[in-house]
Each structure stands twice: as C-alpha cells, then as structure tokens.
Symmetry: C2
C-alpha cells in the first residue's frame, strides 16, 4: 500500500509521541512526513531506525497525504485543517479547534468508533486528554446503567501543558533542592511542591479545561443529558493524569458489577482489589509510557446507594493524545 | 494566673507547632511542660526566647497541669489521656483515639465551640486535619441552606504524615534531580513526581482517612444525615492540604450568596473573584505557615441547580492540628 501520513507539529511533545506511536504500532504508512513551523524545519527526528527531516508546513504540504495528524495548536488547525482536507487527506486533529463543530466527529475508538464515518468536513477531532481517559473508563458503566451525573476532580500532569512546562517544573525542583527561589514563566506561579489551577478562563467561574470536560464528554457519549461537575487541577507530576470520579446512574450500579464490566472493557486495566490497600491504586508514575487507562478504587458510594467512585489514571501524552489519534487513524486505514 | 500547660509529643511535627502556636498567640500559661518518650527526654526545644527541656512522659507528669495538649499518636492518648484527666487536666487530644467517643466532644471552635462543655471524660478531641478545614469552610453554608451531600477529593501534603515523610519526600526529590532512583520506606512508593493514596485501610474500599472525613464531619456539624463521599489523595507538597468540594443543599444556594457568607465567616479568607483566573486560586504554598482556611473558586454547579463547588486550602499543621487545638485551649482558659 502507498499511504502517506503527515504529522503537523512533529517537534512538539505530542507530535514526537505521535511519531513514536506510529512506529511502535507498526502503522501501515509507506511514508511519514514531519511538518512544523519554519523555525523547526531542517531538524531531524528519529523514526523507524532512521531520521525524518522536518519540513516547513505550507499549503502545499498535503499533496498525496492520506492521513494528517495535527498537533500544533488550535490556530494552525483552523487554518491548515481545511487545506489538508481539501487536498484529500483525512485530518485527525488533536487541538480544540474543531471538537465542538457539529460536522466534525469527536472520537475515542473504544467509545464511539462509528462516529468516524460522519466526517463531513474531512476532519475528525481528538478529544482533550482529561476527557479521553474519563470516557474510556465510564463507557461500560454508562452502557449498563446510564450515567446521570459525574463529579470529577483531576490531578493533571505538567506534560499536558507542553515540553516547556516540564522543563520549568524540573528547573523549579532543582532550585528547591538547591535551596533557591524557583522562577516561573510558563506556570502562573511555583508548580514544584505546589498545586495549581493554570488553564485559560472559561465562564461561570470555570476554566476552559473544565468546560471541555463537560461538552466533550456529552458529545463522545452521545448523551447531552449527562451532568458533569469538573474541577481541573495541576500537580507536580511529569506525565500521567489522575482523576477522582463520582458517578451517579439512572439505574443503581454496584461496585462489584462495575468491576466485572471494567475487567473486560477495551483499553481499560482494572487495578487492585475491592478492598483499599495503600499504594496499590493506579499511579501516574506507573501509567507514564504505557497505553492503558488504569481504573482502581472502584467502590460503592457511602452517601448515595447505587452510585460509585473510581480512580482513573492514564498517560496524557499517549491515550490522552497521540495514541488516541493514531487509533483513529487505524480506524480510517 | 498560674496555668500549667503540658504538650505531649512535643518533639513531633505537630507538637513543635503547638509550642510555636502557644507562643505566637501569647497563650496565658505560666509554665509549659514539654513531654515526650524516654528517648527524646533531655532534648531542648525553643520557646519564648528560651528553651524547654523535654521531660519523659510518665503517669506522674500531669500533677498541677490544667491543660494537656496531646499529639503523640492514638495509643499514647488512649493510655495517658484518662490519667491526665484524672489528675485534673483538661485533655485536648489531636489523635484519633477519642474522636468518635460519645462522651468526648469533637471541636472546631468556629463551628461547634459550645460542645467543649460536654467533656464528660475530661477529654476534648481535635478533629483530623482534612476534616477541620472542610467544616470551617462549609459551616456558614450549612447554616444557610442545610448540606445534604458533600463530594470531596483531597490533595494532601506530606507533613500530615509526620516529619519522616517530609524528609523522605525531600530525599526523593534530590534523587530525582540527581538522576538517581528514589528510595522509599515511609511512603508505600515514590511520592516525588507522583500521586499516592497512602493511608491505612478502612472498609468498603475506603481508607481510614476517608472514613474519618465522613464520621467527623457529621459529628462536628451535629447532623448525622449529611452524606459525605470522600477520596483522599497525597500529593508531593510539604505543607498545605487542598480540597475540591462539591456540595448539594436542602435549599438551593447560589455562588453569589455563598461568597457573601464566606466573606464574613470566622476563620475563612475568601480568595479570588467570582470569575476563574489561573493562579489566583488558594494554593498550599501560600497557605503554609498561616492560620486561615482559604476558600476560592466558589461557583454554581453546572449539573445540579442550587449546588456549589469550592476549592479549600489550609495549613494542615496549623488549622489542621496545632492551631485548632490551641484555640480549643483558649475556649477552656
């Protein structure tokens, strides 16, 4: 076969992970084109034992391209997504640019694979990292008992904010260990040894990140009546988002039954026993550089019979971004 | 006046903070006795510009003592609490030993100061750190609209686990910065750059820490029908617990009205505006070494009209332990 795949934003944290994921999963691409801004053109990226020379993104970059994976920010996606689609590529976009467009499917392959068919604009959107792991964990429970309300508090890793954020966290930690005052430019304050809420403002007192969790969860699940109460928080972790999740259903669901469903759910690894054991729950340090969504601490709610609590952890760069995008590409291919 | 105050467990993280708090608040003690185990006896602790020589805790330690502040673990409190009370001291106990005893009041001075009168055993219990800041923040809202359900996820600091935990976190961070593999003994795994659940097991899949939040909240609020859904999580922070809190009421409460109530609530500092702004929310790094309970991100719930969300941060060694205990002592004095 002669499939050409383009990765737009190939030098970013997610772009690099996309290249590694295409390679690791032996994606059937004859050729992969690494695209980025002019200032990154000429850089070399390791791929399949050799190197890809980064090319400058231009309107002509998509000739002959079958699948274009975008992860270069919303403005690049808004400008170049339609150009790539017009050139005949299927665009799989990791930015927020197209996610809530009615003519653009928002896809998590374990949850709504059939939605890829309805790509009227030739564009498929990859959901936000914190939403992907949530819906992978909750879909089997929703199918069984219909979710009515989710209260989710996140413990999000710094790599979700890009490579510069990770570098700043590491520099701050080194400063703290050396007894110096940490400096900050990427974060709105000290991230090391602290907890921050560092997203753009949404409305009603919510951050954009939080509103994404509400809207994207409903769109992916195909149920506009799911209530979502989000609190998004950044913690000093490099990679691996964690989520504390309370779920209330239309029909009561027990933890025992939920564990049965999760044990066989696609993309999910059920961690730990029904009883609590310290340090045996899913952890970001263990999830980093792996593919699954880890679900643990599945327990019956103490206040509301038939409701449940879970602890959901996944690699935000893999399942939260690059892996999910490549899985969508596999559905297309 | 001739009041003698004893601090039991004076060399521990909370014991030291108790001495600093007695000094800072100019507690009217003629004499303060620092008590600890035999192996710490003879150590010197700074106090009021001089030093206290630590004495060994024995059954005779409480002669002439009016108030005994205990923070040496539950087994010491169970053994020596009744001895101190029999000697005529009012015991204010920071351990979990007596908290759920029907004849022992569990007191947060901003919430239920009148309960100190009912100390049938001569013992008053100081609640758990994560509960104290929660009830200080929620009491004015409960008085206004009657809380029916709380969903709380915590981001707890390592100093809540004692001084050895802080030292282990710092050693782990130094190892990470130096590119070495961190070691762990106090934590059930790596705490640096990670998120852990590291408490003793309770039941039903919950940790002891989580069940404390349920039972203590109801006892302090004096309302056994308050539903509490807890998830307790440790983050790599030295001092300052943070809590993401969803609250549903009997009567609808708006964020605007809640902000009015919180702005004048005792012990509370309301942080930030009604709109979201990154980095402007309460943070553990800012709360450490201060007295208040900081409440921010007060916002109307997106899923359930009349419900609210808040972000609550406080110094777990001060308001979460030593300060609350000394405030109880002030009620007695």
């Amino acid at each position: 076969m002669s499939m050409v795949v383009a990765v737009v934003g190939a030098t970013g944290a997610v772009g690099r992970e996309m290249l590694r994921t295409l390679e690791r999963r032996e994606f059937p691409a004859e050729r992969v084109v690494a695209l980025a801004s002019a200032k990154s053109a000429g850089n070399k990226l390791p791929f399949r034992g050799g190197e890809l020379v980064v090319e400058e993104l231009t309107p002509k970059s998509f000739e002959g391209v079958k699948i274009a994976l975008f992860s270069a920010g919303a403005s690049v996606s808004r400008e170049y997504g339609p150009i790539a689609a017009a050139a005949g590529a299927v665009v799989i976009d990791n930015s927020s640019a197209w996610r809530m467009d009615d003519e653009v499917p928002l896809v998590v392959p374990e949850v709504n694979p059939q939605a890829v068919m309805h790509r009227k604009k030739g564009i498929i959107a990859n959901p936000n990292c914190s939403t992907i792991q949530l819906v992978v964990a909750l879909k089997p429970l929703h199918d069984e008992a219909r979710i009515r309300h989710i209260v989710v508090s996140t413990y999000q890793a710094t790599s979700g904010k890009g490579h510069a954020a990770v570098e700043e966290l590491e520099a701050q930690l080194a400063a703290v260990v050396a007894g110096k005052q940490p400096e900050h430019q990427v974060f709105p304050g000290q991230m090391a040894m602290n907890v921050l809420s560092d997203w753009k403002a949404g409305q009603g007192g919510y951050s954009e990140e939080e509103l994404k969790m509400v809207n994207e969860t409903r769109k992916i699940m195909g149920d506009a009546e799911i209530g979502v109460t989000p609190t998004c928080v950044r913690v000093p972790v490099v990679t691996g988002h964690s989520e504390s999740v309370f779920v209330r259903f239309e029909r009561p669901l027990t933890a025992a039954r939920a564990r049965e469903l999760l044990a066989k759910a696609p993309g999910v690894v059920l961690v730990g026993d029904a009883e609590y054991a310290p340090g045996k729950e899913p952890q970001p340090l263990h999830a980093a550089n792996t593919d699954p969504v880890y679900v643990g601490r599945v327990r019956d709610d103490l206040a509301m019979p038939g409701a449940l609590n879970l602890w959901v952890v996944a690699d935000n760069l893999r399942k939260g971004a690059a892996l999910n995008a490549v899985q969508i590409a596999e559905l297309i291919a």
